[in-house]
Symmetry: C2
Subunit: 300 residues, 2 copies
Amino acid sequence: MRAASYSTDGIKPIIYNKISTTGQNQPVFTRLLDLIRSVWQDNLKVEMIILASAGPLDPKTGYIYDAPNIPGWKDFPLGEKLHKEFGIPVIVGNDANLAALGEWKFGSGKGHHDLIYMTLSTGIGGGIICNDQLVEGAFGLAGELGHITVLPDGPTCSCGKQGHLEAISSGQGIVQYVDQMLMQGESSILSTSKELNAWEVAKAAETGDELAIKAFSRAGFYLGLALASIIHIFNPSIIILGGGVSKSGALIIDPMIEKMKVEIMDKSYLENLEIVTTKLGDEVGLLGALVLGRQKLQIE
Amino acid sequence: MRAASYSTDGIKPIIYNKISTTGQNQPVFTRLLDLIRSVWQDNLKVEMIILASAGPLDPKTGYIYDAPNIPGWKDFPLGEKLHKEFGIPVIVGNDANLAALGEWKFGSGKGHHDLIYMTLSTGIGGGIICNDQLVEGAFGLAGELGHITVLPDGPTCSCGKQGHLEAISSGQGIVQYVDQMLMQGESSILSTSKELNAWEVAKAAETGDELAIKAFSRAGFYLGLALASIIHIFNPSIIILGGGVSKSGALIIDPMIEKMKVEIMDKSYLENLEIVTTKLGDEVGLLGALVLGRQKLQIE
């Protein structure tokens, strides 16, 4: 995890620090406290703490319903605990939502009023800006673009439901498909003898491995299908893709674009639509938190 | 079509008129001009004309790309032509979008900040309010909730693509399914001897006709599937269903709710979600146009 302190203007951190989320037998929350203290500038007034966290969570209270990758963060009152510790206002936002804010203000989304951000990683997260405002929904649970059904009765998603985009086009979806095909006897330089990840599948695809290529094509195909629906719903002027899987580039992007073009019902949706991968990289969450903090403090 | 003149406050029309859209060998545009003149109050200053039209259209210019049910309204500069005729500002909005605005301001959506409106009619239209603002998208083409893919390779939609919600759960989708099943020899009190409509299928279902019941169940099933995705994307606090097909009530609503509950990934999405049918009825478009006009005139 990363932390930074910022002044009321500019985007260059005063202090920046990065540590691994887990380690040394300390609970994640203890490590988070240490990390925040490490970027705390004692001679300056700290106005607010803003966190980008995995969700689902309640952005109004900073209550984490469930952060599947962090042990113990289920029904975890993160905002309240941090407020108790530091005594200043604490805001917790969904990480993909904040990434969308960061891209909109400082990244490829600058100047756009209607933007879709999608992170293709182990899972798939989404962030939506409409009319220059973040779409959080009535209770802060909006933006779950990974949990759109693209294939009824398709593979089981991390959330337990069938056929969601995340179950097919995420890193985990790609790996599960490869595993399943290997088990059915498809030949490949990949094998089930060790635990695969999407990066290894991408490497295999680059050497021409047919199963690996097929796994990415399938992921891109359903991503394109989902994006067509998303475009019909939002009519954005830009779609920004982030996350590790988006770094596989043409492997997933080409079949995605191809399918998207087939599925869009009117070419006017595509005429002024940009589709790009993120340039802010791993700092996008920090920058999104900065935007949210300044909005809350009404600095801009 | 309907027209009304309103004062700057209140929702009771000063003059109201309603005529059939086509007839007497006159072009629709001529009939529209007459209709507008019929509600024009000569002794009062008319500030603005606001129209709710079938789309897709460009709400910035009032240009109709294609209104499939109106002969000649393809690439039709409706806003410009009306402005030339009457010399005052003209705004043209997508009918389902304006219905959402009407419901939000005066109907079941009052007090809600995040609202989904869906009209189930011959086709399926949508209107979305997020953060108290209408979601129009970058070029006014947003809100096409009928054109979400719910069944890849499913039946062909009015837009030409496969497996959209509209192709299955609209009035036309229901009728096409019945026709197809009759052609395959399923028994029913309905027959292909005359052109069916969804209302007749609903009547047959009420007498216990199994095919008719199945057609509505199928429509409700995919509607529930689509709504689950929509809820994951928007986390609304209310969903309002309008249009003729929604009047079939439990026939379509019960299977819809059942499927939706199965597909929602976390019960927190449903805990404070209302699902209702419209109470504003056929006047909802007029009221939505009124809201939009007052917003543009900054009266409220």
